[in-house]
């Protein structure tokens, strides 16, 4: 099995070919080792980083950005977003605070992505 994909790990975007034979995966075209890891992962179980926003009160803006601590299974993104829809925070908040722990048992946390002070 041969699969062509574009690596998304860094802005280079190498064109990677993933080959599978007898359960062993190899990659060509990746400029670094991370591309090898990505290529294989993408072929078996694609994962994506998730960034979004949640509601925040008493801050300079109405939304606070959040980010996943690691890539999540691609098919779970909308489920995680649905969980985030029910979360609200109040300023002040500090960057890197965990607001969802081990979301959907993925081992991945959702973190606050910036500090926001309380404003009147």
């Amino acid at each position: 099995m041969n699969k062509q994909l574009i690596c998304i790990v860094c802005p280079k975007g190498c064109r990677v070919t993933v080959s599978e034979e007898n359960g062993v995966y190899t990659t060509t075209g990746n400029a670094c080792a991370r591309g090898n890891v990505y290529g294989i992962q993408e072929s078996i179980a694609p994962k994506r980083m998730l960034t979004s926003t949640i509601r925040i009160h008493n801050a300079s803006h109405a939304r606070c950005p959040v980010v996943s601590s690691a890539p999540l299974p691609k098919g779970d993104l909308f489920k995680v977003l649905a969980l985030l829809e029910n979360i609200e925070v109040t300023a002040p908040v500090v960057m890197n605070t965990v607001i969802l722990d081990n979301v959907l048992n993925s081992g991945v946390n959702i973190l606050i992505s910036r500090s926001m002070e309380e404003t009147l």
Binding site: R55, F78, A82, E85
Partner: protein
């Protein structure tokens, strides 16, 4: 019960309202859009023509020169900026120079000053003039305004003087009897006389009063390109090619704020509200502008717009009184320049003999001038009193938070993004709302006490923000 109902708050309606507000008559202005000055009045060249052009014996000939002469005093009284830059009517060959001579005679006969310039003089006074121009007629008194700046000054004063203004109310029915009853979806109103200055709807509204009214307006669309105000020094005067039967032609216009206008072309349209810009129209503007000026590239334009003008089949203003129903329609060019004289004419010819109004002494409402035009000391005095005058929300045009709030609460009120843009400039600059629109939404939301999802862009159906949460349930 009112003495007068004015239908339409474009420049004509606002001028009419102001003129009548200086008398003891009770006046109601009914405007179909959410904002005043929303149609023809905010999509034209803004030129105060001197009056040499209209055919002898027409109302246009009578009222253009008269109106133009009233502008300086009116602008001074109401503190409306007037760009007195003069104009050049250009010629490219001997035949055109001959036509200029004829126009020169006509102008002199009407006591409008002008002077013939040769090629060198043209180039000297207008360095970017088209190289093909060999002579021009210079009219020192041609001027330009931003029509809505005049319109707002007029309607604010009218409101302060007691005129009632109802917006978002289209007229749907008219009944004639010993009084005239005008009905909108919200209410019915009665008046002794009605002035129909509903612009693009002029003939349709006339037919509400007289089902057999025979006039159908000749609608002409004109498209324009607009530059940023940083290009102001590219042009010194308003530039005209020789007029044709299509109209005054594609012009280069200097405005009071510094933006330059290039346009309009002229195409007949059926739908009065078809104000789309078109590839052909813009291409025509881009081509024909070369007859008057060395063109600027597309990348130096910040906006395009188009306006439909309601002309009459006779190409003259229609200003008539049919038994207490006054039509002031078919007001296309030189309508803006004529507008003060039009209002005076309607008052003198139709209203005075019928209602015998008495003049009333009124104080003049002058909206605070933009802080960008004040001295530092004047600005600081205001900022000391209210720090929101020091918070700039519009970077391109230098407009503060409080000035936007003031515009919202002006006598004639403003409640939409487009209205704010016309009132005090945010959205008119190089960023076209990129930096400032979200802030204007904030201010409208706060000052009107409405959630952001109810803030209007233009008319009542133009709210445009949806809270993210509103989509949470659906997918």
């Amino acid at each position: 019960m009112f003495d007068i109902i004015i239908i339409g708050a474009g420049i004509i309606g606002c001028q009419m309202a102001y003129t009548l507000s200086l008398t003891d008559l009770s006046v109601l202005v009914i405007e179909k859009n959410t904002e005043v000055l929303n149609e023809v009045s905010s999509a034209n060249s803004g030129i105060i023509h001197t009056g040499y052009d209209p055919k002898e014996g027409t109302l246009k000939a009578l009222l253009n020169a008269k109106g133009a002469r009233m502008y300086r005093d009116l602008c001074e009284k109401l503190q409306v900026p007037l760009m007195e830059c003069g104009s050049l009517l250009v010629a490219h060959n001997d035949q055109e120079i001959e036509t200029l001579q004829g126009i020169m005679d006509k102008a002199e006969h009407r006591k409008i000053s002008c002077e013939m310039l040769d090629q060198n003089a043209c180039r000297k006074t207008e360095p970017n003039i088209a190289p093909s121009i060999i002579a021009a007629l210079y009219f020192p008194t041609t001027a330009s305004i931003l029509p809505w700046q005049m319109g707002y000054a007029l309607i604010d004063n009218a409101c302060q003087n007691g005129v009632k203004l109802h917006t978002s109310e289209p007229v749907i029915k008219v009944e004639r009897g010993c009084v005239i009853t005008v009905t909108t979806p919200k209410a019915s109103y009665q008046a002794k006389m009605v002035i129909n200055c509903s612009g693009l709807s002029g003939d349709k509204v006339a037919r509400l009063a007289e089902p057999d009214y025979p006039i159908t307006l000749r609608l002409k669309k004109g498209e324009y390109q607009v530059t940023d105000k940083t290009e102001a020094s590219y042009l010194n005067h308003i530039l005209f090619p020789l007029p044709t039967d299509k109209g005054k032609g594609v012009l280069a216009v200097k405005t009071v704020e510094g933006n330059l206008l290039f346009g309009p072309n002229s195409t007949l349209v059926k739908d009065p509200f078809d104000n789309d810009t078109t590839p052909d129209g813009l291409a025509e503007v881009n081509e024909k502008i070369k007859d008057v000026i060395i063109p600027l590239p597309q990348s130096r334009m910040i906006r395009q717009f188009a306006g439909v003008r309601p002309g009459s089949p006779t190409n003259d203003f229609i200003i008539e009184n049919h038994d207490h129903w006054i039509n002031v329609i078919g007001i296309d060019s030189p309508g803006l320049a004529s507008s003060p004289a039009i209002a005076q004419y309607v008052l003198d010819e139709f209203i005075v003999p019928t209602l015998n109004p008495q003049p009333v002494e009124r104080s003049v409402y002058v909206h605070q001038k933009p802080l960008s035009m004040m001295t530092h000391d004047q600005r600081n005095a205001l900022i000391k009193k209210n720090p929101e005058y020091g918070k700039i929300v519009c970077l391109c045009e230098d407009v503060s938070y409080q000035e936007v709030a003031d515009a919202i609460h002006s006598p004639a009120q403003t409640k939409s993004i487009k209205g704010i843009k016309r009132r005090c400039r945010p959205g008119s600059g190089r960023c076209q709302g990129g930096f400032c629109e979200a802030k204007i939404v904030d201010i409208l939301s706060k000052e009107l006490g409405i959630p952001k999802e109810k803030v209007l862009y233009d008319n009542d159906d133009s709210a445009f923000l949806t809270p993210m949460e509103a989509l949470y349930e659906t997918k």
